[in-house]
Symmetry: C2
């Protein structure tokens, strides 16, 4: 969140950013955003008031309004910033979990590890709360859902498709449509785990053994469909 | 919804159910539930007041309270009744779309048809609004999400697993774990379509060609993993 925040300018920030005044303003803005993130993720849009956010941030309500025109604007800024952060981490997971060129010995084990990391990352309590909030408020703020979809969901899938395409170029997978294969891989490993936490909350979190089960079965089924002669799992 | 409603008794209903009084009371209760369903699905829990529900139902607020102790109780009743109805229809889809014993000629085409019907049913605007509402309000009403999960999601998956097990018993699939295979099949065909409508709303609805694409690719990949020598798709 802070990353995105530093790239923007509040109406109190001007060319004096490097001065004490600018820094204090930026710091105050960050504190307000953190308080608002906590409040919105806990109580939703309608369940959160600007008074509560001010109290939680330890500033006056006027200070909140100096930085954010209204609750709606603050909410949208919060959600987009949190989404960028969360999705950035998911993409980082997808990028780092697949091995670099030439060191793939066992593509099945690599896919299992990727699956494990994706399940764990997307079922993280913070991601869960964010997804729930965006989904619940998309009727009120259609642009929010659409932006989350484009910057988050589609970006994650595109990264995954890109990694699968690279494996295919190295002769380890046989894919005509890496994008569709990425959708299927993600779906096999994530459909049940993610829905379980979406509906049951943290109580629905998977045990490590369950994560392992979905990851292994997903990688195996995926290779049955898209593996090569050498990477297809043995019967 | 009406099905579940008729199985219950409001505090105004007694042994005179068959009299004009009982019928009028049951009818009024139904009208209130319909109005509340419309209001909650459109504006969420916090965004809906008992005043609005009374106005929409064309009754006094007191009449609403005669039938439902409070907004929370009404909300929970509405969501559970709507869930039962919606999931009943989804289960019906899964049950009827797979062929009965002995008339399977082409299991791939049958799975494609099942996939098509499941995608279409679960992306229906009413299901979409219900899922969004339940997910958005699960933080406030944990029991609601858990009940939806158990009565809805898990029940649907169990029905699907049962149908896949039957196909395996007839030698058309090779499955060790029908439940896990059902999770994977559902995930491959539903992950992207359902998330797209969850985040983008009806604007994210799939075209018939897109439904077809996910259904065909899903059935094909599924049979690569779980088909028998005769049902495995040709290379």
């Amino acid at each position: 969140m802070a990353n995105r925040d530093t790239g923007r300018r509040s109406r109190n920030q001007d060319a004096t950013d490097s001065s004490g005044e600018g820094t204090r303003s930026a710091r105050k803005r960050r504190v307000i955003m953190e308080a608002a993130t906590t409040a919105f993720l806990r109580n939703g849009y309608l369940g959160t008031s600007m008074d509560e956010i001010a109290a939680l941030a330890g500033v006056s309500k006027q200070t909140v309004y100096n930085h954010f025109a209204d609750k709606q604007r603050l909410f949208i800024d919060i959600i987009l910033a949190t989404s960028d952060q969360v999705v950035g981490e998911l993409v980082q997971t997808a990028t780092s979990a697949l091995p670099k060129t030439d060191d793939v010995e066992d593509v099945e084990e690599d896919l299992v590890e990727l699956a494990r990391q994706l399940i764990t990352a997307i079922c993280h309590p913070q991601v869960l709360r964010l997804r729930r909030l965006v989904i619940g408020e998309t009727g009120r703020f259609p642009e929010l859902g659409r932006t989350y979809w484009e910057r988050g969901f589609e970006r994650g899938l595109a990264t995954l498709a890109d990694r699968l395409r690279q494996l295919a170029e190295r002769g380890l997978l046989r894919l005509e449509d890496p994008q569709l294969a990425a959708h299927q891989f993600a779906g096999m490993i994530l459909w049940v785990p993610v829905n379980r936490v979406m509906f049951c909350g943290e109580a629905g979190s998977l045990t490590p053994a369950e994560v392992d089960r979905y990851a292994k079965a997903g990688a195996r089924a995926f290779l049955s469909a898209y593996g090569t002669a050498t990477t297809n799992p043995s019967e």
